[in-house]
Amino acid sequence: MDKSELNEPNKNKILVKKLNLFYKDYQALKNINLNIKANKITALIGPSGCGKSTFLRTLNRMNDLIEGVKVEGTILLEGENIYEPEVDVANLRKRVGMVFQRPNPFPMSVYDNVAYGPRIHGLKNKRQLDEIIEKSLNLAALWEEVSDRLFKSALGLSGGQQQRLCIARLLAVEPEVLLMDEPSSALDPISTLKIEELIQVLKKDYTIVIVTHNMQQAARVSDVTAFFLNGELIEHGATEEIFTRPKDQRTEDYISGRFG
């Protein structure tokens, strides 16, 4: 690819070209072309079953784990096609990490949750680990709330704290891209706002792609919004544009709640 595309101020982190995805005979994604900008928050919206979560999972090959999935097209991360056979998928998922709908801390201490990734990648030095744990929890805006209970079970934290812990666990392996699949749908409104605030802070250092069913959340947090319907990318553009004057009637109908 033309490397100059990656050096512009509004740099593309991920280029998706002619992406198709099939679950056996069913085509879940149809000819998706989308550029994901570095250090921006891209929101993926659309009704249930539209393909937005499937699309999110193509970005770190999480769909590989599902039997019968076939992917066509290319996804370039910093210019390298992540679907090339020689790609180390574990390393890809370290670079492109994921936060899920429900917080899923491991049944171990707060400290061990965050240390899990760095340890798997071979880090054993206690002092270095301590530094990474503090830094990651700070980045996830959780350090002040858990610094006195690092060695207690993570399962004792509130839902919102657990979700921020999962984000800290992700940050500990120093990813470049954060994929978030409805990260606050299981949280109360205040915890949701804390996650949204955190996402805003994190975009300085990370590229973030978020799937959300909450229109107002997409409008509040994202820079770019992409609307999916029936496996197609119908429209994408600056969030402000999409939420004030969408070009496609289907986008208008969906975001204004008149869909279906």
Binding site: T244, R245, T251, E252, I255, S256, G257
Partner: protein, 219 residues
Amino acid sequence: MNPRSSFDKALIEIQEDIFQLANLVGQAIYNAVQSLIKLDPAGAAQVIMCDEEIDDLYAKIESKCIKIIATQQPIARDLRMVVTGIKILLSLERIGDHAVDIAQATMCIRESELNRKSSEYLTKMSRIVQQMIKDSLEAYSERDVQKAQEMCTLDDEVDHIFTKIFQLLIDNILTDPKSIVQSSYLLYVSRYLERIADHATDIGEAVIYLITGERKKLN
């Protein structure tokens, strides 16, 4: 089933309220200018009293718009619809205030007759600005960009008459210093009518934004 049917109903209600307000305001300008032409202080007093009704209706519609923003979080065209509604409301309310200004000027003129030429100009200006308000509200109702644009061209005509009446009144003052009080008030009135045309143009711009999402300056 339309999951937003009660919301849609509320939006339609706001629009209908705006038409009602526009009718009141249009009538107020007509009455104000008629009272002036006939130098009828009782008619002018009536215009001033009716402004309370305009202000009450304005406040009622504005509250509905605020409630809809707070409770329904409108976006895209819905958002433009509410924002446009508020802009049109503001313009109409200001036009209503100018009708009161004209009525107050009328009550200050002590002469028994109005300068004939001025009276012709003011009648003409008044007719055009009423037409502008009517057209702008029709463009709003019919979502008609072309009508909104055409309506705004009438503003040039109003500006043209304003220039002429301004010159006429200055000449009157110079040739007949005794006419200074009447002429000064009529200068005010012509200026109010000119401002009303500007507010009508603002309504036209708001209608174009509602339909296209684009901001367009028309005067």
